[in-house]
């Protein structure tokens, strides 16, 4: 009995730690009208055009970040594992840099470096810079996810098998490597998605109409709506997880099968 007790105890402590604030936020968000429980705050948020716009903006930014990051990282991780295994520790060190360099430093250095180029004197340019920053932020998660994914398949033999069948590097990447790290890539993509959707510092400093700054502004000007927004973004996040799980399921079965 006692053996069962402690695992359950810690599980419950953890659950309480996460669920109580969530419930409290939810409860609070329903009290926008005095004396009754209502979804008025939610209606206010969802009817706000800036919510829709900033959410849509961040969604596009996140998807662009994921696409670019995947296109850069999959070939890199593949090549490092295939031909430059000795460089792996170096690359792993690089992947830690976004944790070490604060976002403020990152964005100012980028702005400095690219000042007086088209990147800093137009709105589209700044958006590119924003995506560039996010690609850097996503690097640790994406690289590690892809690296692990690549380790779970025998890339050496698969590469040579494809080569002997006439495939060049582009074909190998597109037809063999990408499809097989797809699931791993999705897990990295999800974290990237979550980071980009909530990111504040870089978006604010580059004056971008992103979701993070919007949430921040709302938090300082309204009472109930920020809580409603928190619940909405929480739900959207879970929806995104579910979507990724669902998309990944078909290929998961194939890739994770016995080898």
């Amino acid at each position: 009995m006692l053996k069962r007790f402690w695992p359950w105890f810690w599980f419950l402590v953890g659950a309480v730690y996460f669920l109580v604030p969530l419930y409290a936020t939810f409860d609070f968000s329903l009290r926008a009208r005095r004396g009754e429980l209502s979804f008025a705050a939610y209606a206010n948020v969802l009817n706000d055009i800036r919510f829709v716009e900033s959410f849509w903006f961040s969604l596009q930014t996140a998807l662009a970040t994921i696409a670019i990051s995947a296109l850069v990282i999959v070939p890199t991780a593949y090549w490092v594992q295939l031909r430059l295994p000795r460089l792996r520790p170096v690359i792993e060190f690089f992947t830690l840099l976004p944790f070490v360099v604060p976002a403020v430093v990152l964005v100012f250095s980028l702005a400095r470096t690219y000042s007086r180029t088209p990147l800093t004197d137009s709105r589209e340019g700044l958006w590119v810079l924003l995506i560039g920053s996010y690609v850097i932020l996503s690097f640790p998660y994406m690289y590690r996810a892809v690296d692990t994914g690549l380790r779970s398949i025998n890339i050496h033999d698969l590469t040579e098998a494809a080569q002997s069948l006439g495939a060049g590097w582009f074909t190998i990447l597109a037809r063999v490597i990408f499809p097989n790290v797809y699931v791993a890539l999705l897990s990295g993509a999800f974290i990237t998605f979550a980071i980009v959707m909530g990111e504040f510092t870089i978006a604010a400093l580059l004056a971008q109409p992103a979701f993070g700054p919007y949430m921040n502004r709302l938090a300082s000007s309204r009472v109930y709506e920020p809580s409603a927004l928190a619940i909405i973004s929480f739900a959207l996040t879970w929806a995104a997880i579910a979507a990724i799980q669902w998309i990944g399921q078909g290929s998961q079965a194939r890739v994770a099968g016995p080898r």
Binding site: S164, L165, R175, R254, P258
Partner: protein
């Protein structure tokens, strides 16, 4: 002109020399095995033929084209790996059709070819499965079909059966050989299993430490080993210490018992210590004499029942000798502890000096087979 020529090939990785002085010509349609212990350079040589490694020196010519500097994806060579290396994201049919798709062949041609190959490997209804839904043996058959689909000039197999269990290994081995014959495809097969090499090959290349020890048919390699290494690596062999009594007439002594060999021993002098090698199947029980034979008496130490044969281990003072008897339910096998006399022809003896000695035939089995 030979179909595949490997001329003076050498490969070193930094200070390690993996392959050296490798010369081989293979005829069209021939089945050649590379046989040798782990680390002797079999895979490295095969990978140079495939184009995955570049020789440090030497040339490789396939069908009159020097391919030494040609990248692997232009060589049109089918490769089968020990790990199967099927693409996990593709169905069996897509795996087999992969090479044709890359060659941009029309879809209906690919479909027909895939179906044909599925029939050849006896898996016609498996096209829609994924690799993880197949057994190891089935996966390797699909890998073979995938390699054959592109109608390669050469088929290379690197220990394709070593991940499979014994029974499937034997049947798939036969299947590979049949398909190879049927398609007449020139094949190089890497293995460290001498039985596999003998059962499959037209010729065997025996390798050791990056060098070729002998090239020959299974019959030649087994019966007329060129070096001490080949003699001991190919097949099982009894090696017993003997002393030369009279080199001119080929007389030796083993623990005081005389043994004659078929020819005189030019490279040895009386009193030299030599190793005497005898194949277990060339030793029989005493009593079936027709001509001059050697006899050795000792004690039965162990009897192992192996099904169709019974392997007997006999002890002579410090030496052990194995020999095989066919199983016969009417006869009681020798009992451990009993004394026994075995016999073998002088022609069955191979005398091995301290260093690699030139071939001296184990010609008794040649005579018997003839």
């Amino acid at each position: 002109m030979a179909f595949l020529e490997i001329v003076g090939v050498r490969k070193s990785f930094g200070a390690t020399v993996a392959v050296e002085n490798f010369d081989l010509t293979v005829e069209r349609g021939e089945f050649v095995s590379f046989l040798g212990p782990s680390g002797c350079g079999k895979t490295t040589t095969l990978r140079m033929v495939a184009g995955f490694e570049k020789p440090t020196a030497g040339r490789i010519v396939i069908d009159s084209v020097d391919v030494t500097d040609m990248p692997p994806n232009r060589r049109n060579i089918g490769m089968v790996f020990q790990s199967y290396a099927l693409f996990p994201n593709m169905t069996v049919a897509d795996n087999i059709g992969f090479g044709l798709k890359i060659a941009r062949r029309p879809a209906n041609e690919i479909r027909a070819r895939v179906e044909e190959l599925l029939r050849i490997i006896h898996m016609p209804e498996f096209g829609r499965r994924y690799p993880y839904q197949l057994s190891g043996g089935q996966q390797q058959r699909v890998a073979l079909a995938r390699a054959l689909a592109i109608q390669p000039k050469l088929l290379l197999l690197d220990e394709p059966l070593s991940a499979l269990d014994a029974k499937i290994r034997a049947s798939l081995r036969q299947e590979i050989r049949e398909i190879q014959r049927q398609l007449g495809i020139t094949t190089i097969y890497v293995t460290h299993d001498q039985e596999e090499a003998m059962a499959l090959s037209d010729r065997i290349v025996v390798m050791s430490r990056g060098r070729i020890e002998q090239i020959g048919t299974p019959f030649e390699v087994y019966n007329f080993p060129a070096t001490r290494f080949v003699a001991s690596f190919v097949g099982t062999l009894n090696l017993i210490q003997a002393t030369v009594v009279d080199a001119a007439i080929g007389l030796l002594t083993v623990e005081g018992q005389p043994v004659r060999v078929a020819s005189s021993l030019q490279s040895h002098r009386s009193g030299d210590a030599v190793s005497l090698a005898i194949r277990p199947e060339l030793i029989t029980l005493d009593g079936q004499v027709h001509r001059e034979v050697n006899r050795l008496s000792g004690t039965v130490e162990d009897v192992t029942f192996l099904g169709s044969i019974v392997r007997v281990q006999v002890r002579f003072a410090a030496h052990r000798l194995h020999f095989d008897l066919f199983n016969n339910p009417q006869l009681r096998p020798p009992q451990p502890g009993s004394s026994i006399t075995v016999q073998f022809a002088p022609e069955a003896c191979l005398v091995l000096g301290e260093e690699a000695s030139p071939a001296q035939s184990l010609s008794a089995s040649a005579a018997r087979a003839a």
